[in-house]
Homo-oligomer: 230 residues x 2
């Protein structure tokens, strides 16, 4: 048996630092979609940076990363976007607001950009990746390929990573699909251009002590109804 | 200020057990899409149960949980499904194989089922949830509502939760979209019925010592290109 070669920052150079299963489940039980944030509490910069980093490390189809994430700090902009979000208070009260946007196209230029990134990161010739490139092009060009569905799925993986990471860092959050993507796209045009479109947002910070939702039992169908074994 | 009421297993009865940011990022850097599993290594039962539990705790739109997860243990079935998965070895070599399926419809009966679940869990009258029920019905009945897109998004949140949870438990995994959903649906019909359809699978277990992919540097676009601040 040969041992896999290693390069800096490759998965084989690291060892996992597992948390115990009880802590994981505790954190996910503790998590809920916060209705009312404590507007006075801010996420420490290093913690937020870790959340951004975790999100960027999300897996995606072929590794294509068809996404962009926009952190909206500007107070006036957040006030305006609250109006594009059913006036939900989390948009302005949470410590952080992050928009999840998907790539609008998957074309040859996207594939080439990614191939170039692989070649540069791994120090391999671009031409050595022709097989992988052609596989991706074949995928993107298959009849009936639904770019919107494909890209949305990838972005929602990242949303799941973000929310799980937040819970494991002790950060409260609320994912929010109830937004007007068009108004978000207009407001975020300077950073999204026309190549990305907003799908949803997440707010993050710390729950208010009097958020009544936190006191209600978490509702889930019985695990035996949802997870089947064959 | 009032304090939120509490009930058993509500988020307010728990405290988070945060992991440190370096451990989180380490685990996500350690994670990769495993190409070759060590077929001799099995995930301990308690760890796998925690992964199932974590997945069931995934957030979803309104909390509707439009998903089903199928753990495929049967060896012959896994061998057969390998043929429906581009013959990728992970399907049979990984310790565990789990299919992620979405609900095919979002109708009044789905909403009522969920409302009944809330009422039973929280001990509140069904009628007290009429406002929430009508909001969900209005959502489901909006013109042009795309059930497939909506439900797929939710399932992919769960996929993100599963993969992040696995990494944090030191379990290797590989998400796989390259499957023939129709063949999976046929094989899993006894537990999926016609109400759920397979979207993707994940394999989980332990990387083989000679999986060359593990030694390659992880490829991500620079965080500054992907995460924007406004």
């Amino acid at each position: 048996m040969t041992t896999a070669p290693t390069s800096p920052s490759s998965p084989s150079t690291l060892s996992p630092k597992p948390i115990d299963t009880a802590a994981l489940i505790n954190n996910l039980q503790w998590r809920y979609a916060v209705k009312k944030f404590d507007a006075s509490k801010k996420i420490p910069a290093a913690t937020w940076q870790a959340l951004e980093h975790a999100t960027v490390l999300s897996p995606s189809s072929f590794g294509l990363q068809p996404w962009r994430f926009v952190v909206i700090n500007d107070k006036a902009l957040r006030e305006k976007l609250k109006g594009a979000s059913w006036n939900q208070s989390q948009i302005t009260d949470a410590s952080h607001l992050i928009a999840f946007a998907r790539r609008t196209t998957l074309g040859a230029e996207d594939v080439q950009c990614y191939i170039d990134s692989i070649a540069a990161t791994r120090g391999v010739p671009v031409a050595s990746l022709d097989g992988y490139k052609n596989m991706m092009l074949g995928f993107a060009n298959q009849p009936g390929f639904d770019t919107a569905l494909w890209a949305a799925k990838q972005v929602y993986i990242a949303l799941g990573v973000f929310l799980t990471a937040a819970a494991n860092l002790g950060i409260d959050a609320c994912p929010m699909e109830g937004i007007d993507p068009k108004q978000y796209d207009e407001a975020l045009r300077p950073v999204l251009g026309n190549d990305y479109t907003t799908l949803c947002v997440a707010t993050a910070g710390y729950r208010a002590a009097d958020d009544a939702i936190a006191g209600m039992a978490k509702v889930r169908y019985p695990i035996g109804d949802v997870v089947k074994h064959v």
